[in-house]
Amino acid sequence: MDDTILEMRRITKTFPGVTALEDVTLAVRRGEIHAICGENGAGKSTLMKVLSGVYPSGSYDGEILFDGKPMQFRGIRDSEANGIVIIHQELALVPYLSIAENIFLGNERRGRSGLIDWNFANAEAAKLLASVGLHENPVTPVIQLGVGKQQLVEIAKALSKKVRLLILDEPTAALNDIDSAHLLDLLRALKEQGITCIMISHKLNEITAIADSTTVIRDGRAVETLDMRSDEVTQQRIIRGMVGRDLDSFYPDRESSPGDEVLRIEDWTVRHPVQDRMVVEGVGLSVRAGEVVGIAGLMGAGRTELAMSVFGRSYGRDIRGRLFVHGREVQARTVAEAIDNGIAYVTEDRKRYGLNLIDDVRRNVSAAALDRLSRLGWVNGNEEIKVAETSRKEMNIRTPSVMAVVGKLSGGNQQKVVLSKWLFTDPDVLILDEPTRGIDVGAKYEIYTIINRLVAAGKAVIVISSELPELLGMCDRIYTLAAGRITGEMPVAEATQESLMELMTKDKELVG
């Protein structure tokens, strides 16, 4: 059944000064799940934008054959008319509209009067929801759904357009493990129905689990296409293709020698900012100098909420509990006080909470500790540049200059800027919330190396992560969090993915 549904031949796409894609050829078999992977900035998304007509025909060289016929898409509408639908990483749903309204947005079902027939639309939407396994009323506003369910609405929307080739850009990046597993099951079911699927993903375990073929893109070229059915293709094998070398070991080695306790919280309790429920309840944990402590928990377990409430009460209300830094009880009622007490929090959402994207690297690096660069309210701009240059070298931030706008950097380099900003506050304890989310394998390795360097310098580090292998590879000790409570604590030597997952789901039944 090696019947090719899509062939992209010798695609070359250039932007002024940059060649994003060079001579890329991609062949996708009918009814397969075809994974595309590569480092950030390798050209995966550009390739998909060429395919879906975001970059119209004529703005690139090469040709696209769909069902053996050459295609010239002038825009998304053209590609959708042919059954090619792309679901972007950042979901494109309107939060206050209902599920049905979102599904038929731009594709409204009109009755004979020319007005929208909502009864018909809702009934249609219900059928589509059933086919993606989402049990929600079609009139529910999308904002009331979690990210996982919103993803399913996007797929239902694609199905409503009679999709034949579904493109998913990092579909599981924002999903927890259970929702991810659901989604992968759904993709398998769609495959049974004959829908071809192209999936961009950084999660290699998912690729090895679900993909029939994998194309690796590196520096704008298609390096190789691996047949996942016949070959013995391992994650290591894919990584080698992506980075062009074997990573000696995915997690760099580190000598562990924890010192004195740096941060301890006791009986920490946080109420939801608007709803009347506890988000964090009676949590106690501690971290020592030179130690990496992990917090494992599913989405909604209260990990970020816990971290942000500790960090100057940035989240929640009625926060109760005791906070000790170096054994001394402190109050950190504002972010400024938390920073003064040597606490730094690196957010999980760097674009929304971490960076001023329209400003340059230099001013982002100094933003949290301007007082260290100023006297009587006057900023020493030259010292600031020096600090930024130092960060650029030490963190290996790849930017043409420290005056370059942060929004133009790749995810990995943006993350290094956020890290630089917090390191410049000279913290004793760093709380890293999903420090490697959405960044490529090479940059991940660099971030791990940086963490190891910090720990060697005597900093205490708390890592919150959804990726259990990452916690197991990086931490000395791991706490598990479920429904706002600590359900377990173990040295990494005793922990396995299975044992952690068991603890992470422990309280689920109790809480309902």
Partner: protein
């Protein structure tokens, strides 16, 4: 990826080499320099084009000594308002009430000085106090009650217009004593004797040019010491000579009219102080940070409420300064004073490159934006073009300026 060519720092000068040796290095790529500064230089080019256009259309009257003095006197209060406005806009806010505040502060001053016979400076101080109080009122509602500035200041626009009417009892007051009139209509001249032109004005102009050159050179030396890219030395000299020539021409023309207007001194001090405040102080940085990404600023320890509050207090203060200047210039207080000033100030900020979404803008840019509006109004008045056409032209210029800005932002990649 950005397509803008940025000067390379791959091979910086060794740190211990004498800076003097490096002074003649730097980028010679004029195109890259112009492209990098397109957003800023675009408005300078626009100002030059508009000045040239109206100079031709008015047979040179626009640039005559008397008229240049006139432009300064006529639009100074809009420029003062634009300083406060651009700071608010950078911080992601706006102030629709400044016209009413100009009226109210002028009215308070007029009642005290004209009606009750207090000395002129009591009127000035009282106006400033009222302005600061109004700013604190707005700041409280925006920063601590969390009401959007658009609503708070829209309410303020009505509220303070009403208070103006109440204070003035619906009548106009005039005239101010001559000391008070000096604020907007006074000149410093003859201090170094008169030779058919005012030597003092030229001296101040020369000092300003020297100050510009020295501070520019010192920045350059420091930049080089910190291994940062700088423009090439000839380019630097060309820039200083060009700016110096324009400044000296301006001083020359003023010297041949009535000398140095006091209001120009006030304006120059404000521009200098606020230019430094926005670029070089922690407060200024925090304003940009809040406007650029509110959540990120809050999570970086910026005291968002405090900064927002002081931004509005500052706007109230500057509105009061404008109120004093305006009441002095019009030699009295009228119930309808300052009508629509807010729109001119907002337009100046946006023409000057401020972004609607916040986080972008400069004081100098707003001044240039204000001057573009001023030269257009003045030029059209000189040509005898009627009010309706003037309004249409100004509206279109605002639209085109912001459209150009949006277009630029989509392409360019470098920071302000």
């Amino acid at each position: 990826m950005t397509s803008i060519k940025t000067p390379s720092t791959e091979h910086p000068t060794p740190p211990d080499s004498p800076p003097a040796a490096a002074l003649h290095s730097g980028t010679n790529d004029l195109r890259a320099l112009v492209l990098n500064n397109l957003r800023q230089s675009g408005i300078y080019v626009a100002l030059v084009v508009i000045v040239a256009l109206f100079a031709v259309l008015t047979d040179g009257v626009l640039l005559s000594p008397g008229n240049i003095t006139n432009i300064v006197l006529q639009y100074s209060y809009i420029l003062v308002l634009a300083i406060g406005m651009v700071i608010l806009i950078i911080g992601g806010h706006i102030d629709l009430s400044v016209g009413s505040v100009v009226a109210l502060t002028g009215a308070v001053s007029a009642v005290l000085v004209i009606q009750q016979g207090h000395p002129w400076w009591i009127g000035v101080v009282a106006a400033l106090v009222v302005g600061v109080a109004v700013g604190a009122w707005h700041g409280f509602w925006v920063a601590y009650a969390g009401i959007p500035a658009f609503i708070v200041t829209l309410a303020g626009m009505l509220l303070f217009r009403g208070l103006t009417l109440r204070v003035l009892d619906n009548i106009s007051l005039s005239p101010f004593p001559s000391e008070y009139q000096q604020v907007a209509a006074g000149f410093l001249n003859g201090l170094l004797g008169g030779q058919g032109f005012d030597a003092f004005t030229l001296l101040i102009g020369a000092i300003a040019v020297a100050g510009y050159a020295v501070s520019g050179f010192r920045t350059r030396v420091a930049r080089i010491r910190y291994q940062q890219p700088v423009e090439s030395f000839p380019l630097f000299v060309a820039r200083v000579v060009l700016v110096g020539a324009v400044l000296m021409y301006f001083a020359w023309q003023l010297a041949h009219a009535r000398g140095l207007p006091i209001v120009l001194i006030i304006l120059a001090v404000l521009v200098l102080v606020y230019g430094l405040l926005t670029r070089r102080t922690v407060f200024g940085r925090q304003v940009y940070a809040i406007g650029g990404n509110l959540s990120a600023a809050a999570l970086s320890g910026v005291k968002v409420r405090t900064v927002n509050f002081w931004m509005f207090v500052n706007m109230g203060f500057l509105a009061a300064v404008a109120g004093v200047i305006y009441s002095s210039r019009s030699n009295g207080a009228q119930p309808a004073a300052g009508n629509m000033f807010e729109l001119d100030a907002i337009a100046a900020a946006f023409i000057g490159g401020a972004a609607v979404t916040g986080g972008v803008g400069t004081v100098v840019g707003a001044m240039v934006g204000g001057l573009i509006m001023a030269v257009m109004s003045n030029g059209m008045q000189l040509m005898g073009i009627d009010q309706s056409t003037q309004s249409v032209v100004k509206g279109l210029v605002l639209l085109v300026a912001v459209a150009f800005d949006v277009y630029n932002k989509r392409r360019a990649g470098t920071a302000r």
